[in-house]
Every structure is written in C-alpha cells, then in structure tokens.
Symmetry: C2
Subunit: 401 residues, 2 copies
C-alpha cells in the first residue's frame, strides 16, 4: 500500500531546485533550474510543431539538462529558421546567466501561432525573471503563473512518497492548459520535477505511461496544439531502487495536473469525468470516453444541467467502437450519488420518470461523472473535460492574432 502525501509548496518542495517566473502583460518567462539534471519529454503529435520543440528534442536527447525556460505570449510556431534562432537566443540568455552550456537548456513556448517572437519584449522579461531565481514559495507560484495564457488559475502540485525500499522521494509539477486542449495534449505545457535518481530512459518510460492516462485524456475543445510539451526532470538527489510506487506517484501528479486543466478549460463553469467501463480494449475505452467528453452536445447539456442521456448514447454510437447498444449501461453520478439511466439496455426512466429529476439534480453540481459500461470486456479509462459556455466563444472569438 503506497502512501502519497500531498505537499503544499509547489515546485519549491524540492529544496535543491530554483525557480522563477515574471510576466508583463501577456508575456511571461518561467525558469526551472537544477544543474546536471536528468530529463525526458513527451511532445505534441501535431505535424506542425513549434520551434522550441525542435530545440528541446535536440537538447534533451542525451538526457541531460540543467534548466527549462518557458515563455508565454508567443508560441514560436511556423516561424521557420528565424524561430529556431530566436528560441536559441532565449536559451543562450539563460545559459549565460546560469553559466551552463546552451545544450543544457530546454525551452517551451505557448501563445499565438504564426508570429515571430518579439525579442525586445521577451529578453528583458527573461532577464528580470532569472534575477529572481530561488527556492521560495513565491518563486514557485510565480513560475506557475508566468506560463499562463488564458488560464485563470495557476496549476501546481507536489507530493511525497516512498519506494518499497524505504527511499523517500518527491515529485512536483506545474502546468498550463486552457484552450486548444485535446486528443493528444492541447496547448499543454507541463514541467515535472523529482528528486529520485533515474536514467533518461526510465524517466521517459514512466512519463509516457502517466501522460497516456492523464494529459492525453483531457479534452477542452478538441483542438490539438502545436506546442505541447511535458518534461520530467530528475535532480538525482534521492537514490533508491525504483519500483511501481514511483509510477503511481507520477500518475497521481499528472492526473492532478490534468484535472486542473479540465476544470480551468476556457470558459468552463463545470467539470466532468467520463468513465468508460467494460470495453473490449483500452483503445475502445479511450475512444468511447473521449467521444462523449468531446461532444459539443454533451458539453452544452452539462452547461444546461440537462441529463440528456440521448446525446451520450449517440456519442458512444459514433465513437467508432463496436458494441451492442442492447446491453449498455449509462449512469450520471456525483461523488456521493448515482442514477442509472440505462441499465443493460433498459431505460429506467421510461418506467420511473422521477429518476430523471434526480439525474437533473446531479447535473446541477459543479462536478459530474458520466459512466458508460459497455459490458463487453474488462478495460476501462476516464476522460476529463468541461462544459461548453458562451465564455469559451467570447475568449476565442476575441483572442486576437
């Protein structure tokens, strides 16, 4: 039995790490610094990917980095050679200040696509940010804040846990989300640190596993960004015999960050979890849960607190998964309550319309769980999402290039 203890200090929970964040208007720069760290990363699957991804892929290839520099306000995407040069220029600035090789700086960007980086604005911000590098609570919060775009709250988490051999380790992370969130990591940046010593391949393997069931299961608007990056970086301070407890703690951290993203989706007022159970394969479970969580009609039903299960079964139906509609179960639940609306193909509300009223009550809650059991196999997964509101339209109709 693994104990995961949540810490309330964010990135600064790892005493050896220094962080900073500084922003002016829509531009911000965050730096996470620890010399000679080991790191691995996962990136967007979008065929059009940003310059910082090209840079970071190269710099992180040997598994060794000492700093991560992230800027918000400009995605540095579709900016050709000039974009690479400017990304490297920012990385060089950090390298100079921190007296580390350029190749040990990973970079990431988020913001508008298709504009060259305004270096006259970003460089002074980066300088001011780096001047503040330390291990304080304030800097950890600043780091989480400086990477925000349309996020309304900073997103961070830190936990402490133990390996079976008794080694204590910590994992701390920050992320940003909000818009362009979907199928495979929207404009999703995540930076996770741990003090547990691990080689790059181990870090990569663990990160991939965690990302699959966390960040990859979040859908805000179905748009997959060009800049998604999640980096896992180890300071190698704690040495132990890595086991499944590390994976579990990392899962916990990634799931927490993923849920924070869904809850703070652009314009979101409500949060939903869509559990698909009894699928024939994990792929099927993912398809079904994502189809439901992505459906504009389910999202607006959530907004309107309407237990419109017809939209749910329809989204299951067009998910592309083979299943038998005659044995499906669907329920709408909160943390404490559950109404089974379709029970192995039988619509319970046909006989007891009061159940629909009860489901309506649940739909009014801030957090709603939609549970779909295909009764076909043993695979299950949960997708995370939010409602579709007018505010989403406002944010994205007015967020100018």
């Amino acid at each position: 039995m693994i104990t995961i203890k949540q810490l309330d200090k964010g990135l600064c929970s790892l005493e050896e790490i220094k962080t900073c964040g500084y922003r002016e208007g829509k531009y911000g720069v965050t730096v996470i610094y620890h010399k000679n760290s080991t790191a691995a990363a996962v990136y967007t699957k979008n065929k059009v990917y940003a310059a910082p991804i090209t840079i970071t892929r190269k710099h992180i290839a040997d598994g060794k980095i000492s700093a991560i520099l992230v800027n918000s306000g400009n995605a540095n995407c579709y900016t050709k050679e000039e974009g690479i040069e400017k990304g490297l220029e920012l990385a060089q600035l950090a390298a100079d200040k921190l007296e580390i090789p350029l190749e040990e700086v990973a970079v990431a960007s988020t913001g508008v696509i298709g504009r060259q980086m305004p270096m006259d604005i970003l460089k002074p911000i980066a300088e001011k940010s780096i001047e503040k590098l330390d291990n304080s609570r304030q800097s950890a919060t600043d780091a989480a804040r400086a990477i925000m775009t349309t996020d309304t709250v900073p997103k961070e988490i830190a936990v402490e846990s133990q390996l079976n051999d008794g080694t204590t380790f910590k994992i701390a992370g920050i992320c940003k989300g909000s818009g362009m969130i979907a199928p495979n990591m929207g404009t999703m940046l995540g930076f996770i640190t741990t003090d547990l010593k691990a080689d790059k391949d181990m870090l990569h393997e663990c990160l991939l596993k965690s990302v699959e069931k966390s960040f990859n299961m979040v859908v805000v608007d179905g748009d997959e960004s060009t800049n998604d990056t999640v980096i896992l970086m180890s300071t190698n301070t704690q040495v132990g015999d890595i086991d499944e407890n590390f994976q579990e703690a990392l899962d916990y951290v990634c799931m927490s960050l993923a849920k924070q993203i869904a809850k703070d989706g652009e314009g979101a007022e409500k949060f939903m979890e869509v559990e698909c159970l009894g699928a024939n394969s994990l792929t099927d479970a993912i398809k079904v849960s994502k189809s439901v969580v992505s459906s504009s009609l389910v999202k607006t039903a959530l907004k309107g607190a309407d237990p419109n299960w017809g939209r749910i079964i329809s989204a299951v139906g067009y998910s592309g998964v083979e299943f038998n509609p005659e044995i499906v179960s669907i329920s709408i639940a909160s943390k404490t309550d559950e109404v089974i609306i379709v029970d192995k193909g039988n619509v319970t509300t046909y006989e007891d319309p009061k159940l629909l009223e009860k489901a309506e009550e649940i739909m009014k809650e801030k957090e709603v769980i939609i549970r779909v059991n295909l009764h076909e196999g043993d695979y299950s997964i949960t997708a995370y999402g939010c409602d579709l509101t007018c505010e989403y339209v406002h944010i994205n109709a007015d967020y100018t290039t």
Copy 2:
C-alpha cells in the same frame, strides 16, 4: 455542357407528386406521396440508430415505396420494440389513408433521443397533415417546414436538366439540419425526388456519390446523429438513357441542400467553405478540410472575424494526414477576393502586415472561403461549416430532454 435550371417551386415541381406538412408546437409530420415509386436510401453510420431506420431499411429493400412519412419532435431512438411498433403504427396510418401496403411506406424521425413517441400527439397531427396532400406550392413549403427542429428556415431546392439524349428531368428535394451535424450526416434528413426512371441500384449508386461530397462534408458541431436518412425517390415518369448529367444535377441538388444546412447551423451567423487542394488522396483531402471546418478555434475565429491562420495550420497539422508544412499554402478568400497568407511555406504577412488587415476585411464577410493547398497531389474537396456562437450554446444548453 450540362444546363441545370433552378426552379422555384420546391417539391411540387414534380407535378405527379403530392406532399403535405403540418405541425403543432414542436411536433410535425410531413408526407411525400407518389404511388409505385422506386427508391434508395443512405443512413447514419452511428452504431446506435433509430427505429425508423430499421423500418425504412426493410421497406425500401425491394426498391419500391409509395410514400415517405417523417415526424419531427421525437427521434424514436433507443426505444426498443415499442419504438418499432410505434413507427409502424404511424406508417400504417399513412398506408390506410393512402390505400397502399404498409411495406410501401418509408419513415424517418428527428427530435429528442430516448423518449417513447407520444402517439396521442403524433397521430392527430399525421391525420391532419395527410388530409392536406396535394401538389400545391403551399403543401411543398409545409412539407419542408414540418420536418424542422431547431432549423430557422425551411430548406428546399428544385432543378430541371436534360440527359444527353434530350430527355428532360427534374430533381426536387427538402432537408432539415441544424444540430448534431457532422462527420457522417448529423441529424440530417433529406428527401429527394426525381421524375427520371431509374432502378433502385442506380438510384443508390448516384445517391451515395452525391452524399459523399455534399451532406457528408457538412460539419456544424461534430456530433453524428442516430437518425440521419437521405432518401432518393423516383416517380419513373420520364424515361431516358441515364448518363452523367443526372449525377451532376443530383450533386447540384445535394450540395445546395448541404450548404443550406451549414448556413443554418445552430446559432450560426456565418458560413465557411474549407477547400483542401493538392492532397495525395481524396481521404486526405476530406480529413484536412473536415479537421479545419470542425475546429472550435477556427469556428470562433470566424465568429470573431479574426484571420488567425495559426489555428488553421494547427488544425491541418492534427488532421492525421502526412504532409510537408514547408510547402503548404493557405489563403482566406471571399467570392471576389483572396489573400494568400502562407505561400508554399512562406508567411507573406511577416513581410507585409497589411495583408493581415485585408484578410481581416474578408473575415468580416458573411461567407468566407479558407483554402489549404498541400501541394502534394491532385485530390481536392470542399467542406462546409459555420461559426461557433453563444447562440449555439444557448440552444443546446436549454434544449431540454
């Protein structure tokens, strides 16, 4: 050179056809009647499909029908045996009144999913509707109106054309769309009639071809409905040697109806066509154009008249199609004007920011064309869609079960 002449009489353009439509509140019934017609149909690919589809598949299997009865207000979906019985009951009512066999009545339904059909409401409406059957302009309009749900305007078209052998023929159709419109025919009902004699296989083949490039290329919200049905019915009045002119005229009719659906998408204020050119295959062209036309961020950019081409290239990037971002071209156009923003990989607006202003002007128009040329191959297709507005959210958050 084929001449397609548009007629302004709707379904009643075919003198031998009788139609009617009658509605009370949210329920309506439309009937299209011509004894001994030949027909073929295309249906939703949703695994969960409605009772009327089960009935119509069976009745239309031999290619012979005499009437189509459509009800709005209830989708008769996920209603089990009771749904089939009630669908047949409505069909029987029409069969009795029209003195035709039950098996010659095709049915279709649209409305809320997961409620049993309120026969006490629908039967009197069906009776009142059928009493009005005739070939008048009024009845043709009523027929287009009675199938509407959240549609704001009736959708109809009629054309006259000629085969190469000189035979004149007509095609007339009505449809409904609005919400749950996407990948493969949303809550899309379409009823198309022609006087040109054709066997059921020929009708089916022509219909499939037309549907692929029309109804299947319309995206409103990405939700694929459980009830989609398009029926093509021939009165066999005109006899000629069927050639490609019939296909072309049918394409014209289907494309017109499809565009009417996109323009009247739930809450839509603006219409867009997304042309994908230079694709390596038709499948690729479809994926790219649909990815762009479905993107919530492109839809909100259209709403906000924001020439945010970064969102367009991002949607191309996550379409799942292999292409080289370095040779892509993207332009934003109206019927009379065009701004090339990305020219074979080069962003023209980096050098000439005024082009962005010009693109902004075009984005302000009611109808906008987004053109993506992959410069990879020779395949192209156009997808049709609309903007995402607050009104869409209102309609679907408040449209109660």
